[in-house]
């Protein structure tokens, strides 16, 4: 007895869930396969949820989704060895009826999402690894799983199996990941009471704070750190490019340990109990690293397609959006009675190009090279900025004019004036 479905979705992360949910809601016969014990079991880490992408799939998600805090304040810190300089933006407007960003814990969130997928009518099977794509005459016709009698057929397969998609690689849809295009991030969750979190971050109720951190903590490697407030815990993490980790030989966990012991961070997490440690890859190659997105009988969405905006640390919203668009592509073809050939699936790419997903990636397309070519963003600048602030804020009898000069000189000493201007120009161009 062979099983055949309208569509098979591989993976139950945000992309796979968005795809399976959309397909099932349209009444298609969908099978979703997930390797983990349950969707999200391995995803304990805290994360940011961007409302918009989810709203387009489940408009009333706020009714029952497990949300931690809505973000009302964003801080950006540049750390030196023992100091930091920073900015922050906080607005009461973020306390609206339908806030724009939330902190979430992936485990409960993924579970919730998966329940929605089931409720929509998809068949969700976990603890089952898809080992390869079944192809006939150059066309994907189904999947093979690691289980006995494990071949399953479908008109189309949507790959949403996450960063470093082995399936796509095996099928020859894309090549090896370039270590320059992936970051390795490590995170921890520290438990603290609600009251302590509220008082430490000066927030009430379910308000939340996000801190983006750059500087000395990355040992000059390309990368950043972050801190999110959850309801009863704090997520703290740091990530750098894999290629840099290889070069520097510094262990990711060492960075996290140093971060936790930085005087700027200690008072925020003090007294908390570390509960979870997780490490994960993030595709950061951007626009130029996006592989082929569709072919005969298949599409690829989310992290497996490298759809991550590293500059703004956005991923799940791109994943959900691409998953939804892939599903809508299938729905529209089915509606017209058309097969999922490569030619017909082209509308998926067109839809992505027309959405914020590709537009944003395109905008930052130069950024990876600039960062690779200018390591001082992550080493020299933090030091200079912090020293400048220190010099200006230290009242020691020296006049302010001389102080400014010292500051200017220290900048010029480390980086030629041309260099500085060049950096600024390139940054501006890259992010324009």
């Amino acid at each position: 007895m062979t099983e055949k479905f309208d569509a098979i979705v591989v993976g139950a992360g945000p992309a796979g869930n968005a795809a399976a949910y959309t397909l099932a809601s349209a009444g298609l016969d969908v099978l979703q396969l997930e390797r983990g014990e349950t969707p999200g079991t391995k995803n304990v880490q805290g994360a940011i949820l961007y409302s918009d992408a989810l709203e387009r799939i489940i408009p009333d998600f706020r009714n029952d989704a497990p949300l931690e805090r809505h973000v009302i304040e964003q801080r950006m810190w540049v750390l030196d060895e023992d100091s930091f300089i920073g900015t922050s933006y906080r607005s009461d407007a973020f306390n609206s009826e339908s806030p724009n960003r939330y902190t979430i814990l992936r485990a409960p969130f993924d579970k919730w999402f998966s329940e929605k997928v089931r409720a929509a009518g998809a068949l969700v099977i976990c603890e089952t690894t898809v080992t390869e794509l079944l192809q006939e005459n150059g066309r994907v016709v189904g999947v093979r799983t690691d289980r006995e009698d494990g071949d399953i057929y479908a008109d189309v397969v949507i790959l949403a199996d996450g960063v470093n998609s082995l399936l796509a690689k095996k099928a020859g849809f894309h090549g090896e990941l370039d270590p320059k295009n992936v970051a390795l991030a490590v995170k921890e969750i520290h438990f603290l009471s609600e009251e302590i979190i509220q008082s430490r971050f000066n927030i009430k109720g379910n308000e939340g704070v996000v801190i983006e951190i750059a500087g000395a903590v990355t040992h000059g490697m390309v990368g950043t750190a972050f801190l999110y407030t959850n309801r009863e815990s704090i997520t703290l993490g740091i990530g750098c490019l894999l290629s840099d980790f290889k070069k520097s030989g510094v262990a990711p966990y060492t960075l996290l340990e140093e971060l936790k012991n930085h005087p700027a961070i200690i008072p925020l997490i003090e007294g908390g109990e570390m509960k979870e440690y997780a490490a994960h890859l993030i595709p950061e190659g951007g626009y130029k690293a996006v592989p082929r997105l569709y072919g005969e009988g298949w599409m690829i969405a989310g992290d497996s397609a490298g759809l991550v905006n590293a500059v703004h640390r956005e991923g799940s919203n791109l994943a959900m959006t691409s998953g939804r668009l892939a599903a809508e592509t299938v729905i529209s073809l089915k509606g017209k009675g058309l097969p999922c050939t490569q030619a017909n699936l082209g509308i998926y790419k067109a839809a992505l190009d027309g959405s914020f997903v590709m537009k944003d990636l395109k905008k930052y397309r130069q950024l990876p090279e600039i960062l690779h070519g200018n390591p001082h963003f992550f080493s020299v600048y933090p030091q200079l900025l912090n020293r400048a602030a220190h010099t200006m804020l230290t009242v020691d009898g020296e006049d302010k004019h001389s102080k400014e000069k010292t500051v200017r000189n220290s900048f010029v000493e480390h980086r030629s004036l041309f260099g500085l201007v060049g950096d600024a120009f390139r940054m501006w161009r890259a992010t324009r």
Binding site: L123, V124, G150, D151, F191, S193, E232, E273
Partner: protein
């Protein structure tokens, strides 16, 4: 042959933590699993099925969510499942639990006589190892606890031979069917479900039996009412008395070894004398 396997869904105690702030158990995000010992019982039943042919029915008593455990059992290869669930069962201790399970097994026997009941050695949450013996007594089944291996099964004669663990050795016991076996953990490993069984697990209807369906007339024997024991207090163990005295920082291995023997001899002279530890 009809085999009934009793399983329980339990929180994965490896992942349970006490909340650092409120000192309460954190169950959120703690996955529910099939009691690990019960997997050995399921696997043994399936092996008997492979060898002799059998119908394997898996039974659990628990809240509606316990359905997930039964679906897993179907995936492994169980033919039928029954979820015994009713508010009236809530708060049951082992006596009330074994009563309800025994009643349900009796009911199952009306469809097809039950030859063998299998349970795990014990659960990892209740950890009592009492439910199995309780069921056996109530149904007048031959009780075989801590079984590591079923060495012989003679269906026509209705006889079974097993090896069971005793404190100082292994007993080889032969007795009649119907019997109840509690399985040791290490006796086998659960099989990897086939894809068709995974589909069956998702699609098969899981029958829910309430008190009436299980044929339980006397409500005073189930749930809280039927439980002689009550939990009167729950508390966290006293926090560790004190942290270890750290010995030998900055010393090499030999230095550390001698340092620890030094403090051992000076803090615990009697013990040191007893074992003949002297200062060099």
């Amino acid at each position: 042959m009809h085999i009934v396997v009793c399983i329980k869904q339990v929180p994965d105690s490896a992942q349970i933590r006490v909340h650092p702030v409120t000192n309460t158990i954190m169950r959120q995000g703690v996955p529910a699993i099939i009691n690990p010992f019960d997997l050995a019982a399921i696997e043994e039943a399936l092996q008997l099925k492979d060898r002799y042919g059998a119908r394997v029915t898996v039974l659990t008593m628990g809240p509606p969510q316990a359905e997930a455990a039964l679906r897993k059992a179907i995936a492994y290869g169980a033919d039928d499942v029954v979820l015994l669930t009713d508010r009236a069962f809530a708060g049951a201790d082992t006596l009330a639990t074994s009563f309800a399970l025994a009643q349900a097994i009796r009911k199952l026997g009306e469809e097809e006589a039950v030859d063998l009941v299998m349970t795990g050695k014990q659960t990892i949450d209740g950890d009592t190892a009492q439910v199995g013996p309780g069921i056996a007594k109530r149904l007048d089944l031959q009780l075989l606890t801590y079984v590591s291996e079923i060495t012989d099964l003679d269906l026509s004669a209705g006889k079974i031979t097993v090896q069971r663990r005793s404190e100082g050795g292994v007993q080889v016991i032969k007795t009649r069917l119907p019997a109840l076996i509690t399985m040791l953990e290490s006796s086998n490993t659960i099989r990897f479900a086939s894809m068709p069984n995974m589909f069956r697990a998702e699609r098969q209807v899981v029958p829910q039996w309430n008190r009436d369906r299980a044929g339980i007339e006397d409500a005073s024997k189930i749930g809280l009412k039927g439980s002689p024991t009550v939990v009167s207090k729950i508390f966290t163990p006293r926090p560790s008395s004190q942290r270890a005295k750290m010995v030998g920082a900055d010393l090499d291995a030999t230095g550390v070894a001698n340092a620890v023997l030094d403090v051992l001899s000076s803090d615990h002279p009697r013990f040191a004398r007893e074992i003949g530890l002297v200062t060099p």
